[in-house]
Amino acid sequence: MLQAEGEFALVTQYMERALQSPLWFWGKFNLYALLIDTAAQQRDLEALRQYIVPAEESALQNDHRLYLGVAYRSKGIMYRLMSDYQDAELWLTKALEIFEKLETRWQIGRTFYELGELARLQDNTTAAYSYYSKALANFEALGAAPDANRTRTALDRLNITPQ
């Protein structure tokens, strides 16, 4: 709920507290997934570095495809923040494959958006345009208005006239 509202700092605070709690019932991979996803959205490189390994390991251990996808996307963002664009693309593409198999449109949209961001940073405006457009199509289909607006803004920034 807080994540959806964009209250990332609070999410991190609560999840870190829950990690310490012996009462947490549903397994820590759940918390790690949320923590890295939040860190990715905040572009918090430190948090990503801290949680990416346990998140990926716990998702793999339980073969939790959704959380694995989240972990890969977060890893891609982490590499992008570290300016390692090649690895970033590799992990984002892996994440996209998982989400497409799961048919989770919001996650697909979000991954396309991140691929767009990556392409934009590499000045590949055509690829960025393509990724943003695909992200937008998914967001619009879901009615995810804030994400759609964010993507439209990104598209506008590319200053490309649609063919």
């Binding site: 807080l2 959806a4 397994g27 804030p146």
Partner: protein, 1059 residues
């Protein structure tokens, strides 16, 4: 001389010298009747045209001849015929008796009396009674000659004329009897009159008056309601002003006892009033109704009972609540006060109003003697079915099935209804309660419903639980639930459940509380003036002497008045109540003294009968009392009537049977108390023996009487059986009560097996009630009993050890855990020792219990040992080929894997467990739904949301099918999670409608899950940028979470709902 009898008032009967006569042809029969009734000869042509109008003259005359032959053949020599005319012989060898002639003769007799026609003397009554007795039915009822229209018209005319004459006779009979204050026969005749002409408003008017005079105020008001309904439906007119005014007078209790004879010679033609009804009649110009002369009724009949005095504010408040209920906002009202304070009287006021407005009224009463579980609820349900409030077509079978559980007598009406599928005890009880609420909703669907539960201080725990449940779930039902109880009783230890219920209702703001206090001195004056219809003679001194003793208790005041009347200290003379000198009046010092002083003035036989009846309880039936006292029928009837006349007993109708009831609960209580211990015991024994023969299934009543009679063996037997029955309907308090009684009856020397069985059952009931700290020591005692019995099977020990371990696992309080941890360890050790090298279902269950509960007991669980228990249980269950035990053991293993974070392994076990539900031996639908949900949940936790959904949908369906809320809630929650994980937001939000429907009914129990739903829903709205909707949902979630955890948001440790 032979006698020929012809009866035409009703179906046609002909008898010749006492033997039935048959005339074959219908036209011949018609001809014979026509000749007899008209009594004169008729021309052949006339008869031919009358009976064969369609034929030409020749054919008609031929037919007439044939018919004459037919008559002559059946009754020789009765017809007198010549060439021109035909008639019946009235002389000669046959005397013809015709009931119509006799009817007219009897009516004629009273017309010849010298008194005014309006007056009905004793001889008039006699002849009128005989006349109406002849009238078996309408003229030639069931006989027609369809092709003889002339005859048909004549028959109709005769029938109508005779019917009018009958109505006149019935009216005069009703009047004559009411003149004599013989209200019961008067009412009977008036009802018959009304049945002949339901649109005759004067008949309604008369019947209303008679009911009112007979003290049947509610019946009078109902009659008015019926009159309004009929006039509106058939004629589309309202009643006459006179009828309306009469209704108003009755409703406002302004119709008082009548004291002036309207037909006394001195009164005729004068303007002298005859009581308030006369005033009403005169005011409205209605003078044809006769006001009865008070000649043959007792002095007690003169006092005006049951009037509401000093409760105007409370009555207005109830009216307001009723108004709210009628508008669709369910209300609960709790009326408290001491015995005799007027709770019932006050409630009767709203009952009358509700009935007059054609609303549904259902009344249940709790009794102190041997209540069956849910007894008042059963009474309410039965009454509804008896009175046809239910449209059986629209009551679903699953609701009917549970109604039958509450009221087993309904079973005979619904033999085809199968019981609902079994569930866990707590869930099943909740389903029963829910179905009762659904039924209330159905009954109140179109017509508002008033449910009254009287004397709740005597209610069983199961009834209290159900009423509390109803109170929580009736907010949108057109229902006013009124509950009365004695607040003076709730401090007693036995009433602690009631106290808890009241506290809960108050805490949850579910009810309005109304406490009735004693009347002030002025209000007592008002009550006396109302009772005696005058304040003449109620001097300050007289009032003080009564008020000093009664302290404003209305029932006590009324009983004192009756006692004084019966002592002759209050007497009626010169049209007024008068009293003796104040010095000579001794006011009884307690209500019990007042009751006893009245009873002791009765003939000894009546007193004996009343004391015996008191032992049976407040309400009793004729046959039981008769068998108990070995009375002749007439003798007992006379004694009961005597007790009715002195207003100690009243008649109540139940399921079409007349029963008797003491007019107040204090009367039987006082009478029982007045008996010596030995005599009381003997009477209870007689009651028990009679009831055992008459109603052997009345287990609770039999347990009560045998206990009171000191009949140890029978008391033990019936207590135990009553306990089993109570447990079967989740009435745990009652089961406990009966088991404890049974246990008390057992002495040390008894066979240990019986005590062991009762103790184990007692432990089970405590455990089911959640009173685990009581259950564990009881199980331990049962183990000790086994130890004393050399035939004990070791698996019986294992079972008890398992129960101790399972009960321990449910302990919440740390101190309790500490206290019983040694007992638990001892049971684990002993249990494991006993099952060594054994393959037995009990052994598998013990291992499963250890696997399930072991992880809670230690701060660092020994996972290896715990998993070993589970695996051993699984292996054993497989050997035993028991799918249910295997499913349970696999469930325990799933829990262990969850705790250990072995999510994929858990999915594997879940699939294995799921395969068991297809086994035909696995017939527990509730468990099937659980397994489906848990399989779906296991899949969801490893991200297999799409695979989880079909299982969750099926679980939801089963939950709906078995009317069990928990699987439905859980399935919906998990479906919501699945849709959210799959980014299927629309479907996620679509669940909201289902969820809200469930939430509306079960919000109290399922707050956590609803909270979760709001959280997820808020997330979806946020992600869609729907800020306002998201905020609403988030606030709901936060509020519920805060309420549930009792902590502010920042203190939530796990924050599971911040997803």
């Amino acid at each position: 001389m032979s006698r020929l009898e012809l009866s035409v008032l009703g179906s046609l009967r002909i008898q010749y010298d006492g033997h039935p006569v048959k005339i074959e042809r219908r036209h011949a029969l018609g001809l014979f009747v026509y000749l007899a009734v008209t009594g004169i000869p008729h021309a052949r042509d006339t008869l031919a045209a009358l009976f064969w109008p369609e034929d030409d003259e020749a054919h008609a005359r031929t037919a007439l001849r044939r018919m004459l032959n037919s008559v002559n053949k059946s009754i020789p020599h009765v017809v007198s015929a010549n060439r021109e005319t035909i008639g019946l012989r009235r002389d000669g060898n046959s005397a013809l008796w015709l009931d119509v002639d006799e009817f007219h003769n009897l009516l004629e007799i009273q017309r010849k009396h010298r008194h005014p026609e309006a007056e009905v003397c004793g001889d008039c009554l006699k002849s009128l009674t005989e006349a109406v007795g002849l009238y078996r039915g309408d003229f030639l009822s069931g006989f027609t000659l369809r092709d003889a229209s002339g005859f048909d018209d004549w028959q109709l005319f005769q029938a109508e004329t005779l019917r009018r004459e009958l109505i006149g006779a019935l009216e005069r009979l009703a009047r004559g009897h009411s003149d004599r204050h013989e209200f019961e026969p008067a009412i009977g005749y008036a009802r018959r009159w009304l049945a002949l002409d339901p649109l005759d408003e004067s008949a309604h008017f008369h019947l209303m008056s008679l009911y009112a005079w007979a003290g049947q105020r509610q019946a009078a008001l109902r009659q008015y309601a019926e009159c309004v309904r009929l006039l509106e439906r058939e004629l589309d007119v309202p009643p006459q002003p006179a009828t309306m005014q009469l209704f108003k007078a009755i409703k406002e209790n302004k119709l008082t006892a009548l004291r002036t004879p309207i037909y006394s010679p001195s009164w005729l033609g004068t303007e002298k009033p005859a009581g308030s009804l006369a005033n009403v009649l005169r005011a409205t110009g209605t003078t044809q109704i006769v006001i009865p002369t008070p000649q043959s009724f007792t002095l007690l009949d003169r006092i005006v009972r049951g009037q509401l005095v000093g409760r105007e504010r409370e009555a207005a408040e109830i009216n307001t609540l009723w108004g709210r209920a009628v508008s669709g906002v369910g209300q609960v009202l709790l009326i408290s006060g001491e015995a005799g304070i007027g709770k019932t009287r006050l409630v009767r006021e709203i009952i009358t109003l509700a009935e007059v407005a054609h609303n549904h009224v259902l009344i249940g009463r709790c009794d102190p003697e041997g209540n069956a579980p849910y007894a008042p609820i059963a009474q309410v349900i039965r009454t509804a079915f008896e009175q046809g409030f239910n449209n059986e077509q629209i009551i679903p079978n699953y609701v009917l099935a549970d109604l039958i559980t509450f009221a087993p007598l309904l079973r005979q009406l619904f033999l085809q209804i199968a019981p609902n599928p079994p569930l866990d005890p707590h869930v099943e009880r909740e389903r029963m309660f829910d179905n009762f609420v659904s039924w209330c909703e159905l009954v109140a669907g179109n017509t508002p419903l008033l449910v009254v539960i009287e004397d709740l201080h005597w209610a069983d725990g199961s009834t209290l639980s159900l009423l509390r449940y109803l109170a929580r779930h009736m907010q949108n039902v057109k229902l006013l639930l009124i509950i009365t109880y004695r607040d003076t009783e709730i401090e007693l230890a036995e009433a602690h459940q009631l106290k808890d219920t009241l506290l809960n209702l108050n805490r949850e703001r579910l009810a309005t509380f109304m406490k009735l206090t004693r009347l002030s001195r002025e209000q007592t004056h008002g009550l006396l003036a109302t009772l005696l219809e005058t304040d003449v003679g109620i001097t300050a001194e007289f009032l003080d002497s009564i008020y000093r003793e009664t302290e404003g208790n209305p029932f006590f005041t009324e009983e004192v008045c009756k006692a004084l009347i019966e002592e002759g200290k209050l007497y009626y003379a010169g049209g007024y109540w008068r009293r003796s000198d104040i010095e000579s009046i001794v006011i009884p010092q307690s209500v019990r003294a007042a009751i006893l002083s009245r009873v002791e003035k009765l003939p000894a036989a009546v007193q004996d009968m009343l004391r015996m009846a008191a032992v049976l309880g407040r309400e009793f039936d004729f046959l039981t009392l008769q068998a108990m006292g070995d009375w002749g029928e007439e003798v007992l009837v006379a004694e009961l009537e005597h007790a009715k006349r002195v207003q100690l007993l009243t008649e109540v109708e139940q399921a079409g049977h007349i029963r008797f009831a003491f007019v107040h609960a204090l009367i039987p209580f006082t009478l029982r108390e007045s008996l010596s211990g030995l005599r009381r015991q003997r009477l209870h024994r007689r009651a028990a023996i009679v009831i055992e023969c008459q109603r052997p299934d009345d287990l609770e009543v039999l347990a009560y009487h045998f206990l009171a009679a000191g009949g140890r063996d029978k008391a033990l037997e019936y207590s135990y059986r009553a306990a089993r029955r109570a447990e079967a309907v989740y009435a745990y308090q009652e089961a406990l009560y009966h088991l404890q009684n049974a246990l008390r009856l057992l002495e040390d020397g008894e066979p240990a097996e019986i005590r062991r069985e009762i103790l184990e059952r007692l432990g089970d009931v405590y455990a089911l009630m959640g009173e685990r700290v009581h259950a564990i020591p009881i199980y331990q005692r049962s183990l000790e009993e086994w130890g004393h019995w050399d035939k004990a099977d070791s698996m019986q020990f294992v079972r008890l050890h398992r129960k101790i371990i399972q009960t321990f696992a449910g302990l919440k309080d740390y101190a309790d855990v500490q206290h019983f941890s040694a007992a638990r360890q001892s049971s684990i050790d002993a249990g494991l020792q006993l099952i060594q090298n054994t393959t037995h279902p009990e052994a598998a269950l013990l291992l499963t219990a250890l696997a399930r509960e072991g992880r809670f007991a230690e701060s660092t669980p020994n996972w290896q040992a715990i998993e070993h228990y589970a695996q051993t249980a699984i292996n054993m269950a497989e050997k035993l080929d028991s799918p249910t035990i295997l499913a349970s053991a696999l469930g325990a293993l799933m829990d262990i894997y969850r705790e250990r974070g072995l999510w994929r392994e858990r999915v594997t076990v879940a699939h294995r467990r799921l395969s068991l539900v297809d086994d035909p031996r696995f017939d527990n639908l509730r468990e099937r739904a659980n397994i489906l949900n848990e399989t779906g949940e296991a899949l969801l936790r490893v991200g297999e949301a799409a695979q989880a959904l079909p299982f969750l949908l099926e679980a939801e369906k089963i939950g709906e099918q078995i009317r069990s809320i928990h699987p439905q809630f859980y399935a919906l929650q998990l479906q919501g999670e699945c849709f959210f994980e799959l980014d299927r937001w629309d479907e996620m939000l679509q669940i909201e409608a289902k969820w809200q429907a469930l939430q509306q009914r079960y919000s109290h129990q399922q707050v956590g899950r609803i909270c979760f739903y709001c959280g997820v829903s808020s997330s979806v709205h946020s992600l869609r940028g729907e800020v306002e909707e998201a905020k609403v949902k988030r606030d709901e979630a936060v509020t519920m979470m805060t309420q549930m955890s009792g902590k502010p948001v920042d203190d939530w440790t796990a924050a599971p709902y911040y997803y």
